[in-house]
């Protein structure tokens, strides 16, 4: 069996068991309910800042955006101001589109090769990765925002409105949240892609599977609490508020499932800064996207630019003077 995904799968399962058994069997609510969540938040915030600071302290010696459209040149040639911006506002739009709409991923194509009399390579638009990624990130965001209801009293109107929209399709009781379903479906799609697409499977590492399984675990425990085991929402809210106000107190009557959920969330947050999930921060700083393509119009300064040894004209002329004179080329010194 493939270790690259079996190990993370087992790992996530163990994490679940650890919290579940720890609470149900050993009454370690204080560890999984208080210590780990606080620790995770500290690691998350500290780690995130550390990483972003690390990137920010690396120099940007050259202005080298990847240009994906017509440059600004002659006045009558229409510039592509977004894909090849030369101003800060253009860059801003480009970045907004990248960050919120995954514009580059939207371009994705799929190569095909027909080994027949045509031998044609073809490139077709491949939108599924974009749809999957967008569905995943936005449903995750909605789920996160919905959870704000546990962190804020009174619950802000916008959170309640979001919840209302999310639950607009009313099936059964409690009403189904679309975001949860989309999240699970999208993660399963991304996982299936990793396992079954030959190319993606070949490049995937254990650290690519781990967050997927972890998120599946988080979503699954969350969904079971809401729809099946019907956790005591009021107690949960009281508990979370106690954490938020730094007066932690363990609630009565909340079972191991909740702690498993919380623990996996904690692991996700703590893991984020040391993993590829840092792309959340990195995308803002990527120099090939966040710089204007105006290097010829506006000089970019390299903070570590240093002088180098060059072969000067004088050395050159000294070397070739006779030949140059003979060929009738102008020289600076006649001999």
């Amino acid at each position: 069996m493939n270790q690259k995904y079996m190990l993370p799968l087992i790992g996530v399962f163990l994490l679940f068991l650890l919290a579940y058994a720890g609470v149900e069997g050993a009454n370690m609510q204080w560890a999984f309910g208080i210590i780990f969540p606080y620790l995770a938040v500290i690691l998350f915030i500290g780690g995130f800042i550390y990483r972003v600071y690390g990137w920010a302290s690396s120099a940007v010696p050259f202005r080298i955006p990847t240009t994906c459209g017509q440059q600004k040149s002659l006045p009558w040639i229409k510039q592509n101001c977004i894909d090849n911006p030369d101003t800060a506002s253009g860059v801003f739009v480009r970045m907004v589109l990248e960050i919120f709409l995954f514009r580059s991923l939207f371009r994705n194509t799929k190569a095909g090769f027909a080994r027949d009399e045509t031998n044609r390579l073809s490139f077709s638009w491949e939108i599924f990765l974009w749809v999957g990624a967008l569905a995943f990130h936005y449903s995750f965001l909605v789920v996160l925002l919905r959870h704000l209801r546990f962190f804020l009293t009174p619950v802000p109107a916008c959170v309640r409105f979001l919840e209302y929209l999310d639950g607009i399709i009313q099936i059964g009781l409690p009403g189904i949240f679309l975001s949860g379903i989309v999240l699970i479906a999208a993660v399963l799609f991304l996982l299936a892609r990793r396992i079954f697409d030959g190319k993606v499977s070949y490049i995937s590492l254990a650290s690519d599977y781990f967050p997927l399984f972890l998120i599946i675990g988080i979503a699954a425990t969350g969904i079971s609490m809401r729809y099946f085991t019907k956790v005591d929402i009021v107690s949960v809210k009281e508990f979370i508020m106690s954490l938020v106000t730094f007066h932690p107190s363990i609630p009565e009557g909340v079972g191991g499932l909740f702690y498993a959920h919380l623990f996996m969330v904690s692991v996700l947050f703590a893991y984020l800064p040391i993993s590829k999930l840092m792309h959340i921060g990195g995308i803002f700083l990527s120099p090939t996207r966040n710089m204007a393509n105006n290097t010829r119009a506006k000089r970019h300064i390299n903070p570590w630019n240093y002088n180098v040894k060059t072969h000067t004209y004088e050395e050159y002329e000294n070397h070739f003077r006779d030949k140059m004179i003979e060929a009738g080329l102008p020289v600076d010194k006649k001999e």
Binding site: W55, F62, T67, T109, S286, R289
Partner: protein
């Protein structure tokens, strides 16, 4: 070339589905046809770069310095601090695979390590192992590193780097599709820079670099020979047009310094493009009194230093501004070339500027200010010519190109490192009636590399070049069959040097041409005689019979 693969054999080898298992389990096999010969010691010495010696990639012993791992470790560390690109690209790839099938080398070879993401992982795996906290912790648990995709820097790993960083043409196509803009070209650039710390360059790069440094151009053409070549073109042009277009060299006080890749001066069919420049400058001199000079010292527009290290790039590039300053020109005009323009557009001013001794470039004939070049003060000849045409300053006879059916190859560098897309198209449409675009996913920012860029246009790696050029050639074949395209037009000296071979291999009916060759054919010089041939001395459309008679006489 006798043992070269036949096109059909090459196509048979392509399989885009990698085998199962881990890529780390397959160690590198350096295969003839896919790699370039090692840099000669003397070329490495000219620039005083480290570890000059004779070595052979096929032998086990690469004659590395004792502490090579330490050198690389420190080199990596230094570059992580110096290049935010590098650091971020090491950290944030999510291995989504969007870039996987975007690389022409992967498409043409099917070798999974040519997927841009894996090319980067070759280095990233070592980075994770040596430079991340997680990597260091995992090292202590046996077996954990490998599952996490980390590995120590061994000789095998180094060889793999060498093999695959010299199978990337730094074309940036992968970067267009990556959701974070991860540019594997940048990783290759830095990878090669690291390899150069150990003297692991290829000769096809090292020798041109050394020539360029000493003699002024990649081909090592000495000043008198450089002049001879242009004189020789002048004679040909006089025979065709009856006009003497003699250029000026190293002239102090000229208006404009013109710099183009030396390939245009020495290798067909670039030479015809060069003749196009000569005709254009003569026209502008006679009509508008524009004074253009060539330089024998800065006689190279290209910069193979860019394929060696940032420092070497800077050392070679310095000549452009130095010569412009010495000659006291107003601004610099640059010829048709790809990587030359990447360097000028995105690096030159930063490295060797500010060019405060030059004037903000204005076209004296049209009055157009080249706002986009006001700091670097160097203008692309396509921007310049397009401006002239737009203002009706050139008298053109399109019909002289009417036997040509064109398609256009966007050079990777001018497309994805600059965005010069419409200027050349505007010129082409003004000098030729038959222009057909290749399919949308193969042009402009999605253009496919010629397969031989970034210093890989050697002879010994011909299989790699033909495979890497396949996606480009495939699209040419498509328009050739569909629209009867006869000529592949380009604005890059490397393209002009390598496409003839590529076309002969995949689409033998298609010829290669530069834009200013088309301009040179169409431009009506003041006082010219009735032309009967084009610059290649082939009869012009409608002149076939007159040409025959001439020959009979």
């Amino acid at each position: 070339m006798a043992d070269e693969l036949k096109p059909d054999e090459l196509l048979d080898k392509i399989d885009h589905t990698p085998a199962r298992g881990s890529w780390m389990d397959t160690s590198v096999q350096i295969r003839p046809g896919m790699y370039c010969y090692a840099a000669k010691a003397e070329s490495v010495e000219t620039l005083g770069l480290p570890n000059a010696r004779a070595w052979n990639p096929l032998e086990d012993d690469w004659k590395l310095p004792e502490n090579w791992q330490e050198i690389l470790h420190n080199g990596l560390k230094e570059r992580l601090e110096k290049f935010r690109t590098f650091k971020i690209f090491m950290d944030i790839c999510v291995r989504c695979g969007a870039c996987a099938d975007k690389c022409h080398f992967f498409l043409g070879t099917g070798d999974p390590k040519n997927m841009p993401v894996l090319r980067a992982e070759l280095l990233r795996s070592v980075y994770r192992n040596d430079f991340t906290h997680a990597g260091k912790i995992l090292q202590s648990i046996s077996g954990a590193s490998k599952i996490a995709g980390n590995r120590p820097l061994t000789l095998d790993v180094l060889k793999e780097w060498w093999y695959y960083f010299f199978q990337c043409t730094e074309c940036r196509r992968c970067s267009v599709f990556c959701p974070y803009g991860i540019d594997t070209a940048e990783i290759t650039i830095i990878g090669r820079e690291l390899l150069n710390l150990l003297g692991l360059n290829i000769d096809w790069i090292a020798t041109p670099v050394s020539n360029c440094y000493q003699t002024g151009n990649h081909l090592g053409i000495q000043p008198h020979a450089f002049k001879d070549m242009l004189d020789f073109f002048t004679e040909d042009i006089e025979e065709i047009t009856g006009v003497n277009v003699e250029p000026q060299f190293n002239k102090k006080g000229a208006d404009i310094l013109f710099i183009t890749p030396s390939g245009d001066v020495f290798a067909d069919p670039g030479t015809y493009t060069c003749q196009g420049y000569l005709i254009l400058f003569k026209y502008l001199k006679d009509k508008y009194d524009l004074d253009v000079t060539w330089s024998t010292y800065a006689s190279e527009g290209g910069n193979f230093g860019f394929f060696t290290s940032h420092e070497t790039m800077k050392r070679l590039n310095a000549k452009m501004f130095a010569e412009a300053k010495r000659l006291g020109v107003k601004w610099i005009l640059g010829g048709e070339c790809g990587h030359m323009w990447r360097v000028i557009h995105q690096y030159m001013d930063t490295m060797n500027g500010p060019a405060d001794f030059l004037e903000e470039p204005v076209n004296p004939i049209t009055g157009t200010k080249f706002e986009n070049a006001k700091s670097t003060k160097m203008v692309h000849i396509c921007e310049f010519t397009a401006d002239l045409i737009k203002h009706g300053k050139l008298e053109l006879d399109k019909s002289r190109n009417s036997n040509i059916s064109l398609t256009y190859h966007d050079s990777c560098n001018t497309a994805r490192g600059m965005g010069l897309l419409e200027e050349p198209r505007y010129i082409m449409n003004n000098v030729c009636d038959n222009f057909f675009e290749m399919p949308e996913n193969t042009i402009k920012e999605q253009t496919f590399c010629c397969g031989s860029g970034a210093g890989l246009n050697a002879g010994e790696n011909i299989e790699l070049r033909m495979a890497g050029g396949l996606p480009r050639a495939n699209a040419v074949k498509y328009v050739h069959e569909k629209f009867g395209v006869t000529h592949l037009c380009c604005i890059c000296a490397i393209d002009r040097a390598v496409f003839p071979t590529l076309m002969e291999y995949w689409v033998p009916e298609v010829d290669v041409i530069g834009i200013h060759e088309l301009v040179g054919n169409a431009l009506i010089l003041p006082g010219e005689q009735k032309r009967t041939t084009d610059l290649r001395m082939e009869p012009l459309p409608g002149m076939e019979e007159e040409e025959m008679e001439d020959e009979d006489e």
